[in-house]
Point group: C2
Chain length 110, copies 2
DNA sequence: ATTTCGCGTCCAGTATATTGGACGTTATTG
DNA sequence: CAATAACGTCCAATATACTGGACGCGAAAT
C-alpha cells in the first residue's frame, strides 16, 4: 500500500521549530553533530534529518536528541514531567472508557 | 545491525504525556479512535501505539494527531508558530556555521 | 595560505514501523 | 438485560526509516 502522507501547516511548523531548537541547542553547547548523534544512539544522517524537521523520524529519537541538546519539551523540567504525567493518569480514569457518539459533536455541524 | 534503542527517563515521560494528551483531547472532542486515525491518515493500530507513547512512531503522524486532537505543541497557536519559526531562522544565521571545539565546553569538565 | 574537520549529501542493505484484517473483550446505550 | 460498537490485541505482508561508509565543499583554526 502506498503510504504517502500529508501534514497540516501547523504540524510542519512544529516539526521545523523543534528541529531548529535542537540544532541551536546543540551548537550553543558546542557539540558536533557526530557527538550528539552518538549520545542519542543514532547516526549523523538521522540527526541531520531531525534537525531539518523531517516528519518521518522516530519520535523517541527526536525527543532524546532534544533532551540531550537541552530543549525543554512541554516547558517542563524533569520532575514536573513526572507530576504532569501522574495528573493526566488521574484525568484519564475520570473519563469514559470509550467514546460512543450519541449525537455528532465534533465539528461537522451543518 | 541491531538497532535496539534506549531512552532517558525524561524522554519516556514526555512521550507518555504527549500520548495521554492526545487521547484526552480526542475523547473530550468525542472522537473515536477510528475517526481520529482516519483524519490523521494513519491506522487505528498506529494511533493506539501513539496514545500509548510508543517511541518508534513517526513524529509527523504524532504531531498531526496531536494537532487534530487539539493539543497545542510548544504552547503556541498557529500564527505564533510561524513567528517563532522565523525568529529561530534569524538566530541560526547568527550562529557559526560549524562547531569546532577548541577546548571542551560540553559537560565533561574535570 | 594551508590544513583540518564539521557538515551536507548520496547510496544499498537492513531493521523496523505501518497496515488492515481479524478476533475477543468491555463499555455504553436503549 | 440485550445489543452494538469502541477498544485492545495479534499477525503476515509491505513500505519506509535507519545505517554506515563514502565523497566533496567550505568554514574555522594555526
Amino acid at each position: 500500500m502506498k503510504r504517502k502522507r500529508s501534514y497540516a501547516r501547523q504540524t510542519r511548523q512544529a516539526l521545523s521549530i523543534l528541529g531548529k531548537l535542537i540544532r541551536i541547542g546543540r551548537m550553543e553547547r558546542g557539540m558536533t553533530a557526530q557527538e550528539l548523534a552518538d549520545r542519542a544512539g543514532i547516526s549523523r544522517t538521522t540527526l541531520h534529518n531531525i534537525e531539518k524537521g523531517a516528519p518521518g523520524a522516530e519520535i523517541g529519537t527526536v525527543f532524546e536528541a532534544a533532551s540531550l541538546a537541552g530543549v525543554r519539551l512541554f516547558e517542563y523540567d524533569d520532575t514536573a514531567l513526572r507530576i504532569e504525567n501522574a495528573r493526566l493518569d488521574e484525568k484519564l480514569t475520570l473519563l469514559p472508557k470509550s467514546v460512543r457518539p450519541s449525537r455528532r459533536q465534533v465539528d461537522d455541524d451543518f
